[in-house]
């Protein structure tokens, strides 16, 4: 138990625990202290100096974000010296910043811009020293514009601490300092996983997603094209944030209507292929278990999930020798594209060459995934364009749609129906829970033994979670699993992924099935989600996901009637020849 200390901020006394920072203490008194380099998900840096405050008796101002409270401290957050320092700091930042704000992608959602407005920074205080720098557009997911970088190092801390990928680092010093990649190579040619967590935490427009909005408008404007859209489960619980709603608001029905108004010919749901993924990936897991336990053959266990393209690129770079452990299933996004250009094309009598598949994803890595060369088993690129939740919000605003007033709509049939099991793909642990709901029932003929199908042990925000499910009362086909204990693990965020993956690489993993999501919180915290992000915001989105699941009539993937139909009409059965051709993929060993 930490000791309590007494201090005064702006002459207001308060008592707080000694491990509180001055910034936190000020917040308790509803005193706003501006910040730039500080982010709730990251360790403290104390390098922007915008949060300075005056502490009586101290020769210098103190950065409140990284100064702990002390007993008897007398703190002032709004003195002449403080205001002048903050204004100087902002003016200095603006003097090295590319101030082309009205033409910036982050116009209106930029922390530097907001502070410049708050502090009334007008005109040029100091000499313009912003230089011309080339924008790094090499990556299909992320664009990096150093002319807008304020060197707060949030991206570097995200990449190094939160994700432990370290694609981004600090190079050089003084006037040459740069937040950049190894050997300053373009982003596409380093170990970047395209997770976009840096984008979520960049206070300015220095790191943004590569936008495909104009490509999507062009497709929609082309009468020869039949444009279909799919939306990932995590989009519906976050899109509202870009359109004036509080975090955690579900806007599923309005989103469907908005997409129709934007001109999409069919509005479908990635949830449909999430259900399909469960059928394929669940069966794949059971086959690997059968191979190992019944046939005593070597099998790649544990099986890793393969839905998260950031995770896929990560393992391809960092653990290229254990790619066999990955499920061969494509992600739901890619399955959708392949199905749209085959099954849907056949059923609707449209030439697949005229079909454009657009995905709306909470993710920047999905843009990279859609561009992977192997993703074209239908003869056409599975997914043509990927836009983020943020980009969809932008399109809706641009189209002049009064989102809040929209009626709720429903997805089109054939690829639109989904179960609650698919919805929870959007949260960490969701794929695991969905897979267990189906696999357990296949093995035992009974529902998973959890209250209202809610497998709570696999839920939550803990970085690595594990659960054991005892299998009893198997149906005859699966009797070899009788009494077996299925051990599963869930990790989200790549630093946590590293822990469980390392165990597998060392041959020490105790698990059978591991779900990994590259982003903290899973897709709800994805790199394409609305900015800002924090644990609180992600928790609200996660709650919304589970509420959406609970409200749906069907909660198990194998009960989705459109899934039953696609197997009977088109695919045959899970892991069939056709499934393998369209829904499964292979991976690439990547060098550093």
């Amino acid at each position: 138990m930490a000791n309590m200390v007494n201090l005064k901020i702006n002459d207001i006394p308060l008592k707080v625990s000694e491990d509180t920072t001055l910034l936190e203490a000020a917040k308790m008194l509803n005193i706003k202290v501006p910040t730039l380099c500080q982010h709730p998900d990251l360790l403290l840096a104390g390098n922007c100096r915008i949060c300075v405050v005056e502490v009586k008796g101290s020769r210098t101002l103190q950065a409140s974000c990284c100064t702990p409270v002390r007993d008897g401290m007398d703190v002032f957050t709004n003195t002449q010296m403080v205001r002048r320092s903050r204004r100087h700091t902002l003016s200095l930042l603006l003097s090295e910043h590319n101030n082309d704000c009205v033409r910036c992608y982050k116009n209106g959602n930029c922390e530097l811009q907001a502070l410049a407005m708050e502090y009334g920074i007008e005109g040029e205080t100091f000499i313009d020293i912003s230089g011309d720098t080339a924008i790094d557009m090499s990556s299909p997911s992320i664009m990096k514009d150093d002319s807008k970088c304020i060197k707060c190092q949030r991206c570097v801390r995200t990449c190094q601490e939160l994700q432990q990928v370290s694609a981004l680092a600090v190079a050089h010093k003084g006037n040459s300092i740069k937040l950049t990649t190894f050997m300053e190579k373009p982003l596409h040619f380093v170990v970047c996983t395209n997770c976009g967590q840096c984008v979520n935490r960049c206070p300015t427009g220095a790191l943004i997603e590569k936008s495909y909005i104009s490509e999507v408008w062009n497709a929609l404007d082309d009468p020869a094209k039949h444009v279909v859209v799919q939306t990932a489960p995590a989009v519906r619980v976050a899109l509202g944030e870009t359109l004036g709603y509080d975090p955690g608001e579900r806007v599923t029905g309005k989103m469907v209507t908005a997409l129709r108004r934007l001109g999409f010919d069919s509005v479908f749901d990635t949830n449909f292929t999430a259900d399909l993924t469960i059928m394929e990936e669940g069966t794949e897991l059971l086959m690997r278990l059968k191979s190992a336990l019944a046939d005593k053959n070597p099998a790649a266990l544990p099986q890793f999930t393969s839905c998260s393209p950031g995770w896929i690129k990560y393992i391809e770079h960092e653990f290229p020798d254990i790619l066999d452990y990955l499920s061969t299933c494509k992600s739901p996004q890619q399955m959708f594209g392949a199905i749209a250009k085959t099954y849907y094309a056949q059923k609707s009598g449209i030439d697949p060459k005229d079909i454009i598949v657009v995905s709306v994803m909470p993710c920047t890595a999905k843009k990279f995934e859609a561009n992977r060369p192997e993703m074209n088993s239908s003869g056409y690129q599975d997914v043509d364009y990927v836009i983020t939740t943020r980009e969809l919000g932008r399109m809706i605003r641009e189209a002049g749609i009064d989102f809040k007033e929209l009626e709720a709509g429903e997805c089109d049939s054939l690829l639109g129906k989904h179960t609650g099991a698919a919805v929870i793909f959007g949260a960490t642990g969701g794929v695991m829970e969905a897979a267990l709901r189906t696999a357990y029932e296949i093995i035992t003929g009974r529902e998973v033994p959890f209250d209202n199908l809610n497998i709570t042990p696999v839920r939550g925000m803990e970085g690595v979670r594990e659960a054991t499910i005892k299998i009893e009362g198997c149906v005859p086909d699966w009797s070899f699993l009788e009494g077996a204990e299925l051990k599963v693990a869930i990790a989200h965020g790549l630093s946590n992924a590293r822990k469980v993956t390392k165990q597998v690489a060392e041959g020490k993993s105790p698990y059978h099935f591991i779900e990994i999501m590259a982003c903290p919180g899973g897709c709800i915290g994805g790199g394409g989600q609305p900015i800002p992000t924090s644990l609180d915001i992600r928790q609200l989105r996660m709650d919304a996901i589970y509420n959406e699941d609970g409200d749906l009539p069907l909660r198990k993937s194998h009960e989705n009637p459109e899934i039953t139909r696609i197997y009977s009409d088109f695919l045959g059965k899970p892991l069939s020849h056709k499934s393998h051709e369209l829904l499964h993929t292979h991976y690439t060993k990547r060098k550093w």
Binding site: G46, N47, R49, V52, H88, I129, I150, K151, G174, N175
Partner: protein
């Protein structure tokens, strides 16, 4: 040089001879190892010795801070990253009297309870390493023979000025970018590898040895109330005689200039590029010491042939490159000060812009993260204030 001047300097040098004085090593080690930790700390505290690296933190207080922090593992680091322009004393001390540095580190180790020590030496001094390693081998053996569990190792720096700042030095030793840490926590609580650590300048460590040998009173006979003892000065620039001289603290700058100047001295930069520039008209009222203008050793003399604009320009170029770059006031502030005086010189900005720049320098003094950015204001304000016309015209 005239004979009188040479004689005078010799007289001064005779008065103080602590740092480069020969000592018998083993008896001195014995004496210190026989002292109790608090006895060592009290002696150092009583002597009034302040850090000789430039910041002037009381050495006894620093040692006490580390001694009072509970930990099984503690470290002593000798800061030999002598990077302040115009400073070259530590090099000489390490070359001539390395054993005394090792003894100082041992005294600190005994006082705080450290078992490991490091000398962080700037990369440019690597040529000293063969000799240093040899002497260190001997010294470590002496300690081993005496059964004192303390071992010193040498770490070589990679050439960033900011690594002379103690937390940057620690980061660098840990294999990270040399960047200052947020304080608190201070190194005496959480330093190298997050363990309590004392970082002392080379010269400071040698003075601790002399204080422990001769007692605090002997040391206090030298200097003034606020600036006890003596100091090694590095005299450079337009001086009649250049080099390394140990002098009492508290000396009036006029006396110093009379001694070392070439007769045309118009300014002295006291404390290197991060120090203060004193113009000739203030020589009389300025005392060299903590009550006046402190210095880490660097004394640069400029005569009337020098342009103070070029002097300042040179310093600012140094700072804009040597800022670690992480904090805004220092990274951008240094660039703006440099661009600013250039613009005023060229007439692109009015002379009144210098007032804006002085305000900026004042902000840097209070808001930069470490001593580097905070001290840029010292040369900037003192040169612009005193030689304004040289900056403008």
């Amino acid at each position: 040089m005239d004979i009188d001047k040479k004689k005078k300097i010799e007289q001064y040098s005779k008065k103080v001879d602590l740092i480069f004085q020969d000592c018998e090593i083993k008896p001195l080690v014995d004496k210190i190892l026989n002292m109790k930790p608090n006895e060592i700390i009290n002696t150092i505290t009583d002597s009034g010795l302040k850090g000789r690296g430039g910041a002037g933190f009381p050495t006894g207080l620093k040692w006490k801070g580390a001694a009072d922090t509970f930990s099984d593992i503690k470290y002593v680091i000798c800061n030999a990253d002598e990077g302040e322009p115009g400073t070259f004393k530590d090099r000489q001390i390490l070359q001539d009297k390395a054993m005394k540095v090792f003894i100082g580190m041992t005294a600190c180790a005994k006082a705080i309870g450290a078992k490991e020590g490091f000398i962080y030496i700037r990369g440019e001094y690597n040529y000293l390493l063969p000799k240093l390693e040899k002497e260190l081998g001997e010294f470590n053996r002496i300690l081993k023979d005496k059964g004192f569990d303390f071992n010193i190792k040498i770490r070589s720096g990679s050439g960033a000025y900011v690594c002379g700042e103690e937390t940057s030095l620690i980061e660098s030793m840990e294999g990270k970018r040399g960047e200052p840490r947020n304080k608190p926590p201070f190194p005496v609580k959480q330093g190298y590898l997050n363990m309590p650590t004392v970082v002392n300048n080379v010269e400071t460590l040698v003075y601790t040895v002399m204080v422990l040998r001769d007692g605090p009173d002997e040391f206090k006979k030298l200097g003034t109330k606020d600036s006890r003892g003596a100091k090694v000065f590095c005299v450079s620039g337009d001086a009649a005689i250049q080099g390394i001289f140990e002098l009492e603290l508290g000396m009036p700058l006029q006396e110093f200039v009379d001694l070392f100047g070439d007769g045309h001295t118009k300014a002295v930069q006291v404390g290197g590029s991060s120090g203060h520039c004193v113009p000739y008209k203030k020589f009389g009222e300025t005392v060299i010491g903590f009550e006046g203008i402190p210095t880490g050793g660097s004394m640069m003399l400029f005569n009337s042939s020098r342009s103070m604009y070029h002097v300042l320009h040179n310093y600012l170029e140094f700072f804009e490159e040597e800022s670690c770059g992480q904090c805004v006031p220092c990274r951008v502030g240094t660039q703006q000060l440099l661009k600013g005086i250039e613009a005023v010189k060229k007439g692109e900005k009015p002379a009144s812009y210098l007032n804006e720049l002085i305000k900026l320098a004042e902000t840097m003094r209070v808001s930069a993260k470490c001593g580097l950015g905070q001290s840029v204001s010292n040369p900037f304000i003192s040169i612009v204030d005193n030689f304004r016309e040289e900056i403008i015209f």
